[in-house]
Protein backbone atom coordinates (compact mmCIF):
# COMPACT_ATOMS: atom_id res chain seq x y z
CA UNK A 1 0.00 0.00 0.00
CA UNK A 2 1.45 3.39 -0.95
CA UNK A 3 1.85 5.92 1.80
CA UNK A 4 -0.08 8.71 0.04
CA UNK A 5 -3.08 6.41 -0.23
CA UNK A 6 -3.13 5.48 3.46
CA UNK A 7 -6.59 6.21 4.83
CA UNK A 8 -6.92 8.88 7.45
CA UNK A 9 -9.13 8.17 10.41
CA UNK A 10 -12.13 10.48 10.27
CA UNK A 11 -11.97 12.57 13.43
CA UNK A 12 -15.67 12.28 14.16
CA UNK A 13 -15.25 8.53 14.54
CA UNK A 14 -13.07 8.66 17.63
CA UNK A 15 -16.06 8.21 19.92
CA UNK A 16 -17.22 4.81 21.09
CA UNK A 17 -17.80 2.52 18.12
CA UNK A 18 -20.90 0.39 18.16
CA UNK A 19 -20.54 -3.36 18.25
CA UNK A 20 -20.04 -4.54 14.69
CA UNK A 21 -18.76 -7.55 12.82
CA UNK A 22 -15.60 -6.91 10.83
CA UNK A 23 -13.77 -10.00 9.65
CA UNK A 24 -10.79 -10.60 7.38
CA UNK A 25 -8.38 -13.53 7.50
CA UNK A 26 -6.59 -12.20 4.38
CA UNK A 27 -5.55 -9.04 6.24
CA UNK A 28 -3.79 -11.20 8.83
CA UNK A 29 -1.70 -12.69 6.02
CA UNK A 30 -0.83 -9.20 4.76
CA UNK A 31 0.12 -8.11 8.28
CA UNK A 32 2.41 -11.13 8.60
CA UNK A 33 3.95 -10.36 5.22
CA UNK A 34 3.04 -13.80 3.84
CA UNK A 35 3.10 -14.29 0.09
CA UNK A 36 -0.32 -15.46 -0.94
CA UNK A 37 -1.40 -17.98 -3.52
CA UNK A 38 -4.89 -18.10 -4.91
CA UNK A 39 -7.18 -21.13 -4.80
CA UNK A 40 -6.06 -21.96 -8.36
CA UNK A 41 -2.28 -21.67 -7.97
CA UNK A 42 -1.67 -25.44 -8.14
CA UNK A 43 -3.55 -25.54 -11.48
CA UNK A 44 -0.98 -23.38 -13.27
CA UNK A 45 2.14 -23.40 -11.08
CA UNK A 46 3.97 -25.66 -13.57
CA UNK A 47 2.34 -24.26 -16.71
CA UNK A 48 2.70 -20.49 -16.50
CA UNK A 49 5.46 -17.92 -16.32
CA UNK A 50 4.77 -16.52 -12.86
CA UNK A 51 5.03 -13.01 -11.50
CA UNK A 52 4.36 -11.41 -8.14
CA UNK A 53 1.47 -8.97 -8.06
CA UNK A 54 -0.11 -7.37 -4.98
CA UNK A 55 1.45 -10.03 -2.73
CA UNK A 56 0.27 -12.97 -4.86
CA UNK A 57 2.13 -15.37 -7.14
CA UNK A 58 0.15 -15.14 -10.38
CA UNK A 59 0.57 -16.11 -14.05
CA UNK A 60 2.14 -13.40 -16.24
CA UNK A 61 1.50 -15.54 -19.31
CA UNK A 62 1.01 -19.20 -20.19
CA UNK A 63 2.08 -19.25 -23.84
CA UNK A 64 2.57 -15.64 -24.84
CA UNK A 65 0.94 -12.31 -24.01
CA UNK A 66 0.21 -11.69 -27.68
CA UNK A 67 -1.45 -15.03 -28.46
CA UNK A 68 -3.53 -14.86 -25.27
CA UNK A 69 -4.57 -11.29 -26.07
CA UNK A 70 -5.65 -12.21 -29.61
CA UNK A 71 -7.49 -15.32 -28.37
CA UNK A 72 -9.68 -13.11 -26.14
CA UNK A 73 -10.42 -10.68 -29.01
CA UNK A 74 -11.13 -13.47 -31.52
CA UNK A 75 -12.60 -16.29 -29.40
CA UNK A 76 -12.26 -16.37 -25.60
CA UNK A 77 -9.82 -16.77 -22.75
CA UNK A 78 -10.07 -17.33 -19.01
CA UNK A 79 -8.19 -15.70 -16.15
CA UNK A 80 -7.67 -16.45 -12.47
CA UNK A 81 -8.56 -13.12 -10.84
CA UNK A 82 -8.98 -14.54 -7.34
CA UNK A 83 -6.39 -12.02 -6.11
CA UNK A 84 -9.00 -9.27 -6.48
CA UNK A 85 -10.54 -8.59 -3.06
CA UNK A 86 -14.17 -9.49 -2.41
CA UNK A 87 -16.17 -7.96 0.42
CA UNK A 88 -19.68 -8.57 1.71
CA UNK A 89 -21.62 -5.69 3.24
CA UNK A 90 -24.81 -6.59 5.07
CA UNK A 91 -27.20 -4.87 7.42
CA UNK A 92 -30.21 -2.57 7.71
CA UNK A 93 -28.13 0.44 6.68
CA UNK A 94 -26.05 -1.26 3.97
CA UNK A 95 -27.53 0.92 1.23
CA UNK A 96 -27.18 4.13 3.23
CA UNK A 97 -23.58 3.24 4.15
CA UNK A 98 -22.55 2.49 0.56
CA UNK A 99 -24.20 5.61 -0.73
CA UNK A 100 -21.95 7.61 1.59
CA UNK A 101 -18.86 5.70 0.40
CA UNK A 102 -19.21 5.41 -3.40
CA UNK A 103 -19.91 7.88 -6.19
CA UNK A 104 -22.96 6.21 -7.79
CA UNK A 105 -26.42 5.97 -6.21
CA UNK A 106 -26.81 2.34 -5.20
CA UNK A 107 -30.39 2.97 -4.02
CA UNK A 108 -31.44 3.58 -7.63
CA UNK A 109 -30.17 0.16 -8.71
CA UNK A 110 -32.51 -2.83 -8.67
CA UNK A 111 -31.31 -6.05 -7.02
CA UNK A 112 -29.14 -8.05 -9.43
CA UNK A 113 -27.38 -4.93 -10.72
CA UNK A 114 -23.58 -4.48 -10.75
CA UNK A 115 -22.26 -0.90 -10.80
CA UNK A 116 -18.78 0.40 -11.64
CA UNK A 117 -17.92 3.15 -9.16
CA UNK A 118 -15.25 4.76 -6.95
CA UNK A 119 -14.28 5.06 -3.32
CA UNK A 120 -12.91 8.57 -2.80
CA UNK A 121 -11.28 10.60 -0.07
CA UNK A 122 -13.17 13.67 1.21
CA UNK A 123 -10.92 15.77 -1.08
CA UNK A 124 -12.23 13.88 -4.13
CA UNK A 125 -9.08 11.85 -4.88
CA UNK A 126 -9.61 8.21 -5.79
CA UNK A 127 -9.00 5.51 -3.15
CA UNK A 128 -10.03 2.79 -5.60
CA UNK A 129 -12.24 1.91 -8.53
CA UNK A 130 -14.47 -1.09 -7.97
CA UNK A 131 -17.73 -2.85 -8.72
CA UNK A 132 -20.65 -3.08 -6.29
CA UNK A 133 -23.21 -5.89 -6.60
CA UNK A 134 -26.63 -5.28 -5.09
CA UNK A 135 -28.29 -8.50 -3.94
CA UNK A 136 -30.87 -6.53 -1.89
CA UNK A 137 -30.96 -3.13 -0.16
CA UNK A 138 -29.50 -4.91 2.88
CA UNK A 139 -26.89 -7.04 1.10
CA UNK A 140 -24.10 -5.95 -1.25
CA UNK A 141 -20.94 -7.55 -2.59
CA UNK A 142 -17.94 -5.49 -3.64
CA UNK A 143 -14.93 -6.44 -5.79
CA UNK A 144 -11.91 -4.16 -5.49
CA UNK A 145 -8.30 -4.05 -6.75
CA UNK A 146 -5.91 -6.53 -5.13
CA UNK A 147 -3.33 -3.79 -4.61
CA UNK A 148 -5.87 -1.83 -2.55
CA UNK A 149 -7.28 -4.75 -0.56
CA UNK A 150 -6.04 -3.66 2.84
CA UNK A 151 -6.48 0.08 2.27
CA UNK A 152 -10.08 -0.32 1.10
CA UNK A 153 -11.05 -2.77 3.83
CA UNK A 154 -9.67 -0.52 6.55
CA UNK A 155 -11.35 2.54 5.04
CA UNK A 156 -14.72 0.79 4.83
CA UNK A 157 -14.32 -0.72 8.31
CA UNK A 158 -13.58 2.69 9.81
CA UNK A 159 -16.60 4.39 8.28
CA UNK A 160 -18.89 1.40 8.85
CA UNK A 161 -18.80 2.05 12.59
CA UNK A 162 -21.30 4.86 12.10
CA UNK A 163 -23.81 2.54 10.44
CA UNK A 164 -25.75 -0.58 11.29
CA UNK A 165 -23.77 -2.80 8.90
CA UNK A 166 -21.35 -5.69 9.03
CA UNK A 167 -18.36 -5.98 6.73
CA UNK A 168 -16.65 -9.24 5.87
CA UNK A 169 -13.74 -10.14 3.63
CA UNK A 170 -14.60 -13.12 1.39
CA UNK A 171 -11.28 -13.14 -0.49
CA UNK A 172 -9.55 -16.06 1.16
CA UNK A 173 -12.53 -18.42 1.00
CA UNK A 174 -13.79 -17.74 -2.50
CA UNK A 175 -12.34 -17.88 -6.02
CA UNK A 176 -12.94 -15.58 -8.97
CA UNK A 177 -12.52 -16.73 -12.57
CA UNK A 178 -13.04 -14.32 -15.46
CA UNK A 179 -14.06 -15.73 -18.84
CA UNK A 180 -13.79 -13.12 -21.58
CA UNK A 181 -14.32 -12.87 -25.31
CA UNK A 182 -17.03 -13.22 -27.96
CA UNK A 183 -17.27 -16.98 -27.29
CA UNK A 184 -17.21 -16.69 -23.47
CA UNK A 185 -20.90 -17.52 -23.05
CA UNK A 186 -20.65 -20.57 -25.34
CA UNK A 187 -17.52 -21.79 -23.57
CA UNK A 188 -19.19 -21.53 -20.16
CA UNK A 189 -22.24 -23.37 -21.44
CA UNK A 190 -20.10 -26.19 -22.86
CA UNK A 191 -17.65 -26.45 -19.97
CA UNK A 192 -19.80 -25.71 -16.92
CA UNK A 193 -23.35 -26.41 -18.13
CA UNK A 194 -24.47 -22.92 -17.11
CA UNK A 195 -26.90 -21.08 -19.36
CA UNK A 196 -26.01 -17.40 -18.98
CA UNK A 197 -27.96 -16.04 -21.94
CA UNK A 198 -30.62 -14.32 -19.77
CA UNK A 199 -27.93 -12.33 -17.96
CA UNK A 200 -27.50 -8.80 -19.37
CA UNK A 201 -24.35 -6.70 -19.09
CA UNK A 202 -23.63 -5.43 -15.59
CA UNK A 203 -26.16 -7.85 -14.08
CA UNK A 204 -25.39 -10.79 -11.82
CA UNK A 205 -27.19 -13.87 -10.65
CA UNK A 206 -26.60 -17.00 -8.57
CA UNK A 207 -26.24 -20.48 -10.05
CA UNK A 208 -25.40 -23.94 -8.80
CA UNK A 209 -22.05 -25.50 -9.66
CA UNK A 210 -21.22 -28.92 -8.20
CA UNK A 211 -23.47 -28.21 -5.23
CA UNK A 212 -21.87 -24.84 -4.48
CA UNK A 213 -23.34 -21.41 -5.08
CA UNK A 214 -21.59 -19.50 -7.85
CA UNK A 215 -22.24 -15.79 -8.35
CA UNK A 216 -21.92 -14.88 -12.02
CA UNK A 217 -21.78 -11.31 -13.32
CA UNK A 218 -21.61 -10.19 -16.93
CA UNK A 219 -18.61 -7.96 -16.37
CA UNK A 220 -14.89 -7.87 -17.17
CA UNK A 221 -11.77 -5.85 -17.82
CA UNK A 222 -11.06 -6.53 -21.50
CA UNK A 223 -13.66 -4.56 -23.47
CA UNK A 224 -15.16 -7.86 -24.63
CA UNK A 225 -18.36 -9.58 -23.61
CA UNK A 226 -17.53 -11.75 -20.63
CA UNK A 227 -18.40 -13.15 -17.26
CA UNK A 228 -16.86 -13.28 -13.80
CA UNK A 229 -17.64 -16.32 -11.68
CA UNK A 230 -17.26 -16.17 -7.91
CA UNK A 231 -17.34 -19.49 -6.14
CA UNK A 232 -17.70 -19.40 -2.36
CA UNK A 233 -16.55 -22.05 0.09
CA UNK A 234 -13.16 -22.72 -1.53
CA UNK A 235 -9.77 -21.98 0.01
CA UNK A 236 -6.15 -22.29 -1.15
CA UNK A 237 -5.87 -25.39 1.05
CA UNK A 238 -9.12 -26.87 -0.20
CA UNK A 239 -9.73 -25.58 -3.74
CA UNK A 240 -12.16 -28.40 -4.70
CA UNK A 241 -14.81 -26.94 -6.98
CA UNK A 242 -12.65 -23.96 -8.03
CA UNK A 243 -9.98 -26.31 -9.37
CA UNK A 244 -12.67 -28.36 -11.09
CA UNK A 245 -14.10 -25.23 -12.73
CA UNK A 246 -10.63 -24.22 -13.99
CA UNK A 247 -9.94 -27.72 -15.39
CA UNK A 248 -13.29 -27.91 -17.16
CA UNK A 249 -12.65 -24.51 -18.78
CA UNK A 250 -9.16 -25.63 -19.81
CA UNK A 251 -10.44 -28.88 -21.28
CA UNK A 252 -13.37 -27.43 -23.26
CA UNK A 253 -11.38 -24.27 -24.02
CA UNK A 254 -9.14 -26.16 -26.44
CA UNK A 255 -12.03 -26.71 -28.86
CA UNK A 256 -12.92 -23.01 -28.66
CA UNK A 257 -9.28 -21.87 -29.10
CA UNK A 258 -9.80 -20.31 -25.65
CA UNK A 259 -6.63 -20.59 -23.53
CA UNK A 260 -5.86 -19.76 -19.90
CA UNK A 261 -4.49 -16.19 -19.86
CA UNK A 262 -2.17 -14.25 -17.59
CA UNK A 263 -1.85 -10.75 -16.19
CA UNK A 264 0.18 -9.63 -19.22
CA UNK A 265 -2.75 -10.07 -21.61
CA UNK A 266 -5.14 -8.70 -18.99
CA UNK A 267 -3.14 -5.44 -19.02
CA UNK A 268 -2.86 -5.11 -22.83
CA UNK A 269 -6.58 -5.95 -23.25
CA UNK A 270 -7.74 -3.35 -20.74
CA UNK A 271 -5.46 -0.72 -22.24
CA UNK A 272 -6.73 -1.35 -25.80
CA UNK A 273 -10.24 -0.94 -24.39
CA UNK A 274 -9.18 2.29 -22.60
CA UNK A 275 -10.06 0.97 -19.13
CA UNK A 276 -8.07 2.68 -16.36
CA UNK A 277 -5.74 0.89 -13.93
CA UNK A 278 -5.59 2.08 -10.34
CA UNK A 279 -2.04 3.09 -9.39
CA UNK A 280 -1.33 4.26 -12.96
CA UNK A 281 -4.32 6.09 -14.44
CA UNK A 282 -6.20 6.62 -11.19
CA UNK A 283 -4.49 7.66 -7.95
CA UNK A 284 -5.21 9.51 -4.72
CA UNK A 285 -4.20 12.72 -6.50
CA UNK A 286 -6.61 12.32 -9.42
CA UNK A 287 -10.41 12.44 -9.42
CA UNK A 288 -12.94 10.47 -11.52
CA UNK A 289 -13.82 13.79 -13.22
CA UNK A 290 -10.22 14.28 -14.39
CA UNK A 291 -10.19 10.65 -15.52
CA UNK A 292 -13.19 11.36 -17.78
CA UNK A 293 -15.39 9.00 -15.76
CA UNK A 294 -18.03 11.54 -14.71
CA UNK A 295 -20.76 9.18 -15.95
CA UNK A 296 -19.99 7.03 -12.89
CA UNK A 297 -20.74 9.92 -10.54
CA UNK A 298 -24.28 10.69 -9.39
CA UNK A 299 -24.06 14.31 -8.29
CA UNK A 300 -27.81 14.37 -7.68
CA UNK A 301 -27.58 12.11 -4.63
CA UNK A 302 -27.54 13.72 -1.22
CA UNK A 303 -23.96 13.25 -0.13
CA UNK A 304 -20.92 11.02 -0.60
CA UNK A 305 -17.24 11.32 0.22
CA UNK A 306 -15.59 13.54 -2.37
CA UNK A 307 -18.79 15.04 -3.76
CA UNK A 308 -17.90 18.69 -3.15
CA UNK A 309 -14.72 18.51 -5.27
CA UNK A 310 -16.38 16.46 -8.00
CA UNK A 311 -19.33 18.84 -8.33
CA UNK A 312 -16.99 21.82 -8.52
CA UNK A 313 -14.81 20.12 -11.15
CA UNK A 314 -17.84 19.13 -13.22
CA UNK A 315 -19.04 22.75 -13.33
CA UNK A 316 -15.66 24.50 -13.61
CA UNK A 317 -13.73 21.92 -15.63
CA UNK A 318 -10.28 20.53 -14.83
CA UNK A 319 -6.78 21.48 -16.00
CA UNK A 320 -5.85 17.93 -17.00
CA UNK A 321 -7.85 15.07 -18.47
CA UNK A 322 -7.18 11.38 -19.07
CA UNK A 323 -6.97 10.81 -22.84
CA UNK A 324 -6.10 8.04 -25.24
CA UNK A 325 -2.96 8.31 -27.40
CA UNK A 326 -2.43 6.41 -30.64
CA UNK A 327 1.20 6.47 -31.80
CA UNK A 328 1.62 7.54 -35.42
CA UNK A 329 5.40 6.98 -35.35
CA UNK A 330 7.04 3.68 -34.45
CA UNK A 331 7.66 3.40 -30.71
CA UNK A 332 6.07 2.18 -27.53
CA UNK A 333 5.00 4.73 -24.92
CA UNK A 334 5.51 3.72 -21.27
CA UNK A 335 4.28 5.30 -18.05
CA UNK A 336 5.90 8.61 -17.01
CA UNK A 337 7.05 9.50 -20.55
CA UNK A 338 6.42 13.25 -21.03
CA UNK A 339 4.19 14.63 -23.79
CA UNK A 340 4.94 17.80 -25.76
CA UNK A 341 3.15 20.14 -28.12
CA UNK A 342 5.21 22.80 -29.94
CA UNK A 343 8.03 22.34 -27.43
CA UNK A 344 5.78 22.85 -24.41
CA UNK A 345 5.20 19.96 -21.99
CA UNK A 346 1.45 19.27 -21.98
CA UNK A 347 1.15 15.99 -20.13
CA UNK A 348 2.51 12.60 -19.20
CA UNK A 349 1.78 8.95 -20.01
CA UNK A 350 0.22 6.92 -17.17
CA UNK A 351 -0.14 3.56 -19.00
CA UNK A 352 1.37 2.57 -22.33
CA UNK A 353 1.98 -0.57 -24.29
CA UNK A 354 2.22 -2.22 -27.67
CA UNK A 355 -1.27 -3.03 -28.93
CA UNK A 356 -1.17 -6.67 -30.10
CA UNK A 357 -4.27 -6.13 -32.25
CA UNK A 358 -3.27 -2.85 -33.92
CA UNK A 359 0.49 -3.51 -33.78
CA UNK A 360 0.99 0.10 -32.65
CA UNK A 361 1.99 1.93 -29.52
CA UNK A 362 -1.03 3.06 -27.47
CA UNK A 363 -1.33 4.88 -24.16
CA UNK A 364 -3.51 6.55 -21.60
CA UNK A 365 -2.14 9.92 -20.52
CA UNK A 366 -3.07 12.96 -18.50
CA UNK A 367 -2.98 15.84 -20.96
CA UNK A 368 -3.93 19.53 -20.77
CA UNK A 369 -7.71 19.37 -21.09
CA UNK A 370 -7.86 22.23 -23.60
CA UNK A 371 -6.38 20.01 -26.35
CA UNK A 372 -9.19 18.55 -28.49
CA UNK A 373 -9.41 14.98 -29.79
CA UNK A 374 -7.51 14.62 -33.05
CA UNK A 375 -4.65 16.85 -31.84
CA UNK A 376 -1.19 15.60 -32.76
CA UNK A 377 1.26 15.67 -29.87
CA UNK A 378 4.76 14.25 -29.35
CA UNK A 379 5.67 11.58 -26.80
CA UNK A 380 9.28 11.73 -25.62
CA UNK A 381 10.36 8.08 -25.87
CA UNK A 382 13.79 8.05 -24.20
CA UNK A 383 14.92 11.16 -26.07
CA UNK A 384 13.12 10.56 -29.37
CA UNK A 385 10.00 12.62 -30.04
CA UNK A 386 7.31 10.37 -31.53
CA UNK A 387 4.08 11.72 -33.03
CA UNK A 388 0.83 10.55 -31.47
CA UNK A 389 -2.83 11.43 -32.00
CA UNK A 390 -5.26 12.08 -29.15
CA UNK A 391 -8.05 9.55 -29.71
CA UNK A 392 -10.93 8.48 -27.50
CA UNK A 393 -10.54 4.78 -26.61
CA UNK A 394 -11.32 1.98 -27.23
CA UNK A 395 -8.53 1.95 -29.77
CA UNK A 396 -9.98 -0.95 -31.79
CA UNK A 397 -12.79 -0.77 -34.35
CA UNK A 398 -15.96 -1.33 -32.32
CA UNK A 399 -17.74 -2.78 -35.35
CA UNK A 400 -15.29 -5.67 -35.30
CA UNK A 401 -14.12 -6.03 -31.68
CA UNK A 402 -15.43 -5.50 -28.17
CA UNK A 403 -18.79 -6.31 -26.59
CA UNK A 404 -20.70 -3.94 -28.90
CA UNK A 405 -19.45 -5.71 -32.02
CA UNK A 406 -21.87 -6.90 -34.63
CA UNK A 407 -21.69 -10.65 -34.40
CA UNK A 408 -21.62 -12.38 -37.76
Amino acid sequence: MDSEGRPRLPSQLCGSPRAILITSTQLVRFELGLASKTQLFAEYEEKAKLTEFAGYDLPLYFDSIITEHLAVRNAAGFFDVSHMARFLIEGKQAEEFLNKMVTVDVSKAEPGRAQYTFLCFENGGVIDDLITYKASPEKFFMVVNAANHQKDFEWLATWSRQYDVSLSDLTSDSSLISVQGPLARELIRAALSLDLSPLKRFRFSFFDFEGLEVMVSRTGYTGEDGFELMLRGVTAESPGAAAMMWRKLAEKGKGFKAPPCGLGARDTLRLEAGLPLYGNDLTASTTPVEAGLTRFIDASKQDYLGKETHVRQISEGTAKALRGLYLLDNGIPRSHYPIFLSGEEVGSVTSGTFSPLLRRGIALAYIKSSLPGGSIVEVDIRGTRCKAEIRPPPFYDQELYGWRRKLA
Binding site: Y61, S64, I65, G264, N330, I332, R334, T353, F354, P356
Partner: protein, 139 residues
Protein backbone atom coordinates in the same frame (compact mmCIF):
# COMPACT_ATOMS: atom_id res chain seq x y z
CA UNK B 1 26.09 -26.61 -26.44
CA UNK B 2 23.06 -26.04 -24.26
CA UNK B 3 22.39 -24.68 -20.79
CA UNK B 4 19.11 -26.26 -19.81
CA UNK B 5 16.69 -25.43 -22.61
CA UNK B 6 18.83 -22.57 -23.87
CA UNK B 7 21.00 -22.89 -26.94
CA UNK B 8 24.58 -21.56 -26.79
CA UNK B 9 26.54 -21.81 -30.08
CA UNK B 10 30.18 -22.67 -29.55
CA UNK B 11 31.55 -20.37 -32.27
CA UNK B 12 30.39 -17.15 -30.55
CA UNK B 13 31.58 -14.87 -27.74
CA UNK B 14 29.18 -13.53 -25.11
CA UNK B 15 28.67 -10.64 -22.70
CA UNK B 16 27.29 -10.91 -19.19
CA UNK B 17 24.40 -8.76 -20.50
CA UNK B 18 23.40 -11.55 -22.93
CA UNK B 19 24.68 -10.18 -26.24
CA UNK B 20 26.59 -12.42 -28.63
CA UNK B 21 29.45 -11.52 -30.98
CA UNK B 22 30.28 -13.51 -34.11
CA UNK B 23 33.80 -12.70 -35.31
CA UNK B 24 34.66 -13.13 -38.99
CA UNK B 25 38.16 -12.34 -40.26
CA UNK B 26 40.34 -9.92 -38.36
CA UNK B 27 38.02 -6.91 -38.04
CA UNK B 28 34.43 -7.91 -38.86
CA UNK B 29 31.81 -8.91 -36.29
CA UNK B 30 28.06 -9.46 -36.04
CA UNK B 31 26.02 -8.73 -32.88
CA UNK B 32 22.73 -10.04 -31.49
CA UNK B 33 21.06 -11.15 -28.25
CA UNK B 34 21.19 -14.70 -26.92
CA UNK B 35 18.48 -17.35 -26.89
CA UNK B 36 18.24 -16.94 -23.11
CA UNK B 37 17.73 -13.16 -23.45
CA UNK B 38 15.08 -13.56 -26.14
CA UNK B 39 13.21 -16.07 -23.97
CA UNK B 40 13.41 -13.82 -20.91
CA UNK B 41 12.09 -10.81 -22.86
CA UNK B 42 9.43 -12.95 -24.56
CA UNK B 43 7.07 -11.48 -27.18
CA UNK B 44 9.62 -9.05 -28.65
CA UNK B 45 7.62 -6.37 -30.44
CA UNK B 46 9.97 -3.51 -31.24
CA UNK B 47 13.64 -2.68 -31.81
CA UNK B 48 15.64 0.43 -32.47
CA UNK B 49 18.91 0.04 -34.36
CA UNK B 50 21.97 2.28 -34.65
CA UNK B 51 22.64 4.07 -37.95
CA UNK B 52 25.28 2.71 -40.28
CA UNK B 53 28.48 4.63 -39.65
CA UNK B 54 27.82 5.18 -35.96
CA UNK B 55 30.90 4.85 -33.75
CA UNK B 56 30.03 2.48 -30.90
CA UNK B 57 31.82 2.26 -27.59
CA UNK B 58 32.24 -1.20 -26.08
CA UNK B 59 29.99 -1.70 -23.05
CA UNK B 60 27.69 1.21 -23.97
CA UNK B 61 24.08 0.94 -25.27
CA UNK B 62 23.93 0.61 -29.05
CA UNK B 63 20.34 -0.39 -29.64
CA UNK B 64 17.11 -1.19 -27.76
CA UNK B 65 14.78 -4.17 -27.74
CA UNK B 66 11.23 -4.03 -26.40
CA UNK B 67 8.80 -6.69 -25.34
CA UNK B 68 5.16 -6.03 -24.48
CA UNK B 69 6.13 -5.37 -20.88
CA UNK B 70 9.63 -3.90 -20.96
CA UNK B 71 12.42 -2.09 -22.77
CA UNK B 72 16.09 -3.15 -22.60
CA UNK B 73 19.36 -1.81 -23.96
CA UNK B 74 21.49 -3.86 -26.29
CA UNK B 75 25.10 -3.12 -25.45
CA UNK B 76 27.94 -3.05 -27.99
CA UNK B 77 30.24 -5.94 -26.97
CA UNK B 78 33.28 -4.12 -28.39
CA UNK B 79 34.11 -0.66 -29.75
CA UNK B 80 33.84 -0.13 -33.49
CA UNK B 81 31.86 1.30 -36.41
CA UNK B 82 28.44 0.05 -37.53
CA UNK B 83 28.69 -1.31 -41.09
CA UNK B 84 25.24 -2.87 -41.52
CA UNK B 85 21.93 -3.16 -39.64
CA UNK B 86 19.22 -5.82 -39.86
CA UNK B 87 16.38 -3.67 -41.20
CA UNK B 88 14.07 -6.68 -41.36
CA UNK B 89 13.79 -6.53 -37.55
CA UNK B 90 11.89 -3.23 -37.78
CA UNK B 91 8.96 -4.96 -39.49
CA UNK B 92 9.57 -8.41 -38.01
CA UNK B 93 10.99 -8.15 -34.48
CA UNK B 94 9.64 -11.67 -33.83
CA UNK B 95 12.66 -12.95 -35.82
CA UNK B 96 14.68 -12.38 -32.63
CA UNK B 97 12.48 -14.87 -30.77
CA UNK B 98 12.41 -17.29 -33.70
CA UNK B 99 16.09 -17.29 -34.65
CA UNK B 100 18.22 -15.28 -32.18
CA UNK B 101 21.59 -16.41 -33.60
CA UNK B 102 20.57 -16.22 -37.28
CA UNK B 103 17.85 -14.03 -38.80
CA UNK B 104 17.55 -12.19 -35.50
CA UNK B 105 20.98 -10.47 -35.74
CA UNK B 106 21.00 -6.75 -34.85
CA UNK B 107 24.02 -5.12 -36.52
CA UNK B 108 27.45 -5.73 -38.00
CA UNK B 109 30.51 -3.77 -37.07
CA UNK B 110 34.10 -3.14 -38.04
CA UNK B 111 36.37 -3.21 -35.03
CA UNK B 112 40.07 -2.98 -34.43
CA UNK B 113 39.77 -4.42 -30.94
CA UNK B 114 38.58 -7.92 -31.83
CA UNK B 115 41.89 -9.53 -30.92
CA UNK B 116 41.56 -8.25 -27.36
CA UNK B 117 37.81 -9.03 -27.27
CA UNK B 118 38.43 -12.70 -26.60
CA UNK B 119 39.98 -11.85 -23.26
CA UNK B 120 37.21 -9.41 -22.29
CA UNK B 121 34.15 -11.39 -23.42
CA UNK B 122 32.84 -14.73 -22.18
CA UNK B 123 33.59 -18.05 -23.83
CA UNK B 124 30.55 -20.32 -24.52
CA UNK B 125 31.37 -22.56 -21.52
CA UNK B 126 31.51 -19.55 -19.16
CA UNK B 127 28.30 -18.09 -20.56
CA UNK B 128 26.59 -21.48 -20.18
CA UNK B 129 27.54 -21.45 -16.46
CA UNK B 130 26.01 -17.97 -16.07
CA UNK B 131 22.78 -19.05 -17.76
CA UNK B 132 22.57 -22.19 -15.64
CA UNK B 133 22.93 -20.07 -12.50
CA UNK B 134 20.28 -17.61 -13.64
CA UNK B 135 17.91 -20.40 -14.69
CA UNK B 136 18.35 -22.02 -11.26
CA UNK B 137 17.40 -18.75 -9.53
CA UNK B 138 14.42 -18.48 -11.85
CA UNK B 139 13.23 -21.84 -10.52
Amino acid sequence: MRAGKYEIPEDLLFTKDHEWLRVSGTSQAEVGITHYASEMLHDIVFVTLPQVGTELEGGKPASTVESVKSVSDVVAPVSGTVTAINEELVQHPELINQDPYGKGWFFKMESSSLSTAKGLLMAPTDYAKLVEQLAAQEG
